[in-house]
Amino acid sequence: MNEAIPITDDGLLRRMLAGDEEAFTLLYRRKHPAIYRFALHMSGNAAVAEDVTQEVFMTLIRDAKRFDPVRGSLSGFLFGIARNYVRKRWVQDQRIVPLPDDAGDLGPAAFKMSGHANGSGMGGAPHANGNGNGMFSTAARAHDELELLETVGRVRQAVATLPENYREVIVLCELEEMSYEEAASALDCPVGTVRSRLHRARALLLEKLREPAMARSSVAGN
């Protein structure tokens, strides 16, 4: 069986350095979605995310020789550049985190909030299967889905309001599903730091998600 062997990132980079436009195009198409998402999650703004992504690849064109495979993967290198540009934009714009009302600015439909203002606390994972038939089970499923959408929206907001260091690890380890090692390479810090930051970030998210529920239950108690 003759299967095409995928070209590694390093191989593409070498070809790109030799002036191979096709290799650069492949590399761009392979890497830019994750970089763009990272910038979008970190900045909360599609225009900024595009600027950052563009700058990352401009930097790659100019300074690809700075990449050292011994120090980490190419993805880590690119995320590191993206991270620096996002920070630079924060300093320029004096906008540390997007306001919750700006969530719509996140643009694509995937980032739209569910639109339910009244939280009902944390929703559980969706029920795997309904036990009943008819109107009751349909209503229960609809309720579950509503609750789920609401939870997702609140988690999205909570992530956007996390301090920068914690948001980075959430975006890299949870949303981009990087390993601790890859995230450590991108963030240029020890693996242990990534682990502890992720632990703390998740704890903060849980705290943020509990807040409305606690407030509501205290109101109901009065």
């Binding site: 650069f24 763009y36 595009e50 789920l148």
Partner: protein, 247 residues
């Protein structure tokens, strides 16, 4: 600590590892079973587990949704344009460098060739000189005294002489190259006995003067000065002549 103790689970350890129960390759993943067992028996940890699972689900939903997000396609055009410009710049630079190197190499070769062409005589290989002299159609008369009358015959090629002899004939113009033909007897020198004890004298005369002596020259340019060697008999009469060309 035994393995059983290492896998033991209490509320403190549960809180420590609850966030990485589903992360492969971590300690939390190893302790997953023990953590789930603990959560079933501990109300607080059970609630925390539910909240964590809910958070995990929400995060994975966000990640899944985000996969559909794409950057504007114009960005690829912009970035590719930048790549072409940068690479074109690099190519131009490389071409300029190659051209400069080729030019430099050519200049060096030219300089080397010129210096070789105009090198001082003392640097010339004596071997090469010897070969050149041997091949030159020179007819040499013994430097100071002509012993053998039969050697001097008009327009007759003689055997080549050693370089030292040749040098003795033409050493009075250091730094210039000389090319000498064989001696030609002058028209009135019909008595070979007059050659005995003769000497060779270097003279520089006008072409007309040399022609009047009987040298085989055209006299188109009468003012031109021409070096020549004369075989002068003991009584001072020129007996034979050869022209010496100089560069």
């Amino acid at each position: 600590m035994t393995e059983e103790n290492g896998n033991r689970m209490d509320c403190e350890r549960f809180r420590e590892f609850v966030h990485e129960l589903d992360r492969p390759g971590t300690k939390g993943a190893e302790l997953r079973e023990a953590a789930l067992t603990h959560a079933e028996s501990c109300g607080q940890c059970g609630v925390l587990l539910t909240e964590t699972e809910s958070l995990d689900f929400a995060l994975s939903k966000i990640a899944h949704d985000a996969e559909k997000i794409v950057a504007a396609s114009k960005m690829e055009t912009v970035v590719l344009g930048a790549f072409r410009r940068e690479h074109g710049k690099a190519s131009r630079w490389q071409m300029q460098r190659a051209t400069a190197l080729i030019g430099l190499a050519a200049a060096l070769l030219l300089a080397l060739g010129l210096s070789w062409q105009h090198r001082p005589n003392y640097l010339r290989s004596s071997e090469a000189e010897l070969q050149a002299d041997i091949k030159a159609p020179t007819r040499v008369i013994e430097s100071s005294t002509v012993q053998n009358h039969g050697d001097i015959q008009p327009n007759v090629q003689a055997e080549p002489k050693p370089a030292s002899t040749s040098a003795a004939v033409s050493n009075d113009s250091a730094g210039e190259e000389e090319f000498a033909q064989g001696f030609s007897l002058l028209p009135y020198a019909d008595d070979p006995s007059m050659m005995e004890g003769s000497s060779v004298v270097r003279v520089i005369l006008s072409r007309s003067a040399l022609a009047s002596l009987g040298a085989p020259l055209s006299v188109a340019e009468t003012t031109e000065q021409v070096p020549a060697d004369l075989v002068v008999s003991p009584d001072g009469t020129p007996e034979a002549i050869r022209l010496v060309a100089q560069n």
